[in-house]
């Protein structure tokens, strides 16, 4: 049986420093008697990023929801920072989620709250003083270059801006793990590049562990082949034939994890599905 109790005086992410950020052990889940994910096992070491690829409807979002305990697997075990989320009660998961940032597919911003209240939601819940909330919200919005939208409502923002606010909300409490669910889905290429830049900045500047779900290969390979230069505040390509060593790929196909490895391994793979998927 894994550890399921969180000590209040130690950050959950620091309680078991040797444990990987995420560990899936033979996880399976289905809905309405139809299997969605079958026997999924992988590790996400701390500080690493995994890009989760796969055709639409293969269960990528389900895997992310499993990782932060929003849904429970039918079988198998899931660990986050050493805590067995698949065996924890909902109320015990809330303190653990303080160390996890989640960016939902459509942003999932609270439509009746302003951008300031959306981004500062977690801080308000933690009874952080208003001045401190304003400072940290402004800092998070500056990270996504949207500090001028503080008093706007989500409906007044464009799709790309809403995703950027969702990223700001996910990172405002400086989580050690960020889960991005299709952060560029449905966006134009220019806006997508901006979002990928933010994901990269979070990875390279703050060294957070992350899983990035996407079905846009160009975004995935940009993330693997570029790094963020903090001095120029821009993405820069890595030298030819080099990829970010901390960034790897997970590929799902028909509910199974068919690839877990580095960028060069993925590109050189002889698997017929992967070849067709990447072509």
């Amino acid at each position: 049986m894994g550890i399921t109790e969180i000590t209040p005086d130690v950050s959950p992410a620091q309680a078991h420093p040797d444990a990987p950020a995420i560990r899936f052990e033979h996880v399976s889940i289905g809905f309405d008697a139809k299997p969605v994910l079958e026997d999924i096992s992988f590790d996400l070491p701390r500080g690493d990023t995994r890009i989760l690829l796969g055709p639409a409807g293969v269960g990528k979002s389900v895997l992310l929801k499993l990782a932060n305990g929003l849904i429970k697997p039918d079988s198998g075990r899931i660990f986050v920072f050493g805590f067995e989320v698949s065996a924890m009660r909902e109320q015990d998961l809330y303190p653990l989620r303080d160390s996890i940032g989640t960016v939902f597919q459509e942003g999932a911003l609270f439509d009746s709250l302003t951008v300031r209240d959306n981004v500062g939601f977690r801080l308000t819940e933690e009874s952080v003083p208003d001045d401190e909330i304003d400072r940290r919200v402004t800092e998070a919005l500056r990270f996504v270059e949207l500090e001028h939208t503080l008093d706007k409502f989500p409906a007044e923002l464009s799709g790309g801006m809403r995703r950027r606010v969702a990223i700001a909300r996910a990172v405002v409490s400086r989580p050690e793990l960020v889960l991005y669910d299709s952060p560029t889905g449905g966006l134009d290429p220019v806006t997508s590049a901006t979002i990928i830049g933010l994901v990269m900045k979070q990875r390279d500047v703050y060294k957070t562990s992350s899983i990035v779900v996407t079905h846009r290969l160009q975004d995935a390979f940009m993330l693997a082949s570029h790094h963020f230069n903090q001095e120029t505040n821009q993405m820069e390509p890595l030298p030819p034939n080099q990829s970010d060593p901390k960034t790897g790929f997970l590929v799902l196909h028909q509910g199974k994890l068919v690839f877990d490895g580095s960028t060069p391994d993925l590109v050189r793979s002889d698997d017929p599905f992967l070849k067709e998927y990447l072509s």
Partner: protein
């Protein structure tokens, strides 16, 4: 095949009752756990209580009025119009005040809760709230249950009073009865058992409205169409349950108080 369908339907029904019971128990249990969402509670009290006041006043007043109108014409056949006030106040306090107020509040607020929470559900806002470390049952459900129970209690008192006044307006202004006689008979007939019965009902009805509204909202699936379905179901189920529970409470109270 039919047996399999029956089996699946039974399982679905039992599972729905289980989920409803869990949501209700956790919603109420959260009242005693920290953090306490006082600001959300006040907001809901304002929305449910103050927001429902105009419809409750109008419903109560005209129900009392129509009661007086109908009973007076029937009583006139026996020369007993003097007890119009008695009939109006008894009917309002024991039965019509609590039930009609609850049905009006159900139509306005069970639907509101189901559609608001349902929209949040289908746009992943509820999941986002959980992912941000906040229990939606504590922040969204608990304030709605407490606010509805508390405010429905007071709204029922308002409705009872306005119903009696509406009856008085009809009896005195339209039918020419004596105002003193009307109020005297209305007051004299009421016993503590009647008042207790009339004030216990809204506590149960308020709980039904809020928990049913929240249950359908929190279990919404299927986009905007699902939100519409949840809203309709919340109003229908809460209204039917109110009338059924009204019967059960009345039978129970009559058993205890003998009237």
């Amino acid at each position: 095949m039919p047996l399999t369908t029956l089996d699946a339907s039974a399982k679905k029904g039992v599972s729905a009752v289980q989920r409803y019971a869990l949501l209700s128990a956790r919603g109420v249990g959260n009242f005693f756990r920290r953090p306490f969402y006082g600001a959300d509670l006040i907001t809901q009290m304002d929305k449910i209580g103050v927001g429902s006041l105009p419809i409750v006043i109008l419903t109560g007043f005209f129900t009392g009025g129509v009661l007086a109108l109908n009973t007076a014409s029937s009583l006139a056949q026996f020369g007993a119009t003097a007890v119009t006030g008695q009939l109006v106040s008894l009917a309002m306090v024991k039965e019509l005040g609590p039930v009609l107020t609850s049905l009006m509040v159900s139509g306005r607020n069970a639907s509101g809760m189901a559609s608001e929470l349902g929209s949040m559900m289908v746009t992943e806002q509820i999941d986002a709230m959980r992912a941000l470390g906040t229990d939606p049952l504590k922040k969204l459900v608990m304030p709605r249950i407490v606010a509805t129970v508390v405010m429905l209690f007071f709204l029922t008192i308002v409705s009872d009073a306005l119903g009696t006044l509406g009856g008085a307006w009809v009896a005195v202004v339209l039918l020419g009865q004596n105002a003193g006689q009307y109020f005297h008979s209305a007051y004299q007939t009421l016993q503590s058992a009647d008042v207790i019965q009339g004030l216990v009902k809204p506590i149960f009805f308020g709980f039904i409205i809020a928990t049913i509204g929240c249950y359908y909202g929190m279990n919404t699936r299927g986009g905007t169409q699902g939100v519409g379905k949840s809203t309709t179901q919340a109003v229908v189920v809460s209204s039917v349950l109110i009338i059924f529970v009204d019967f059960v409470i009345s039978r129970f109270m009559i058993g205890i108080f003998g009237r």
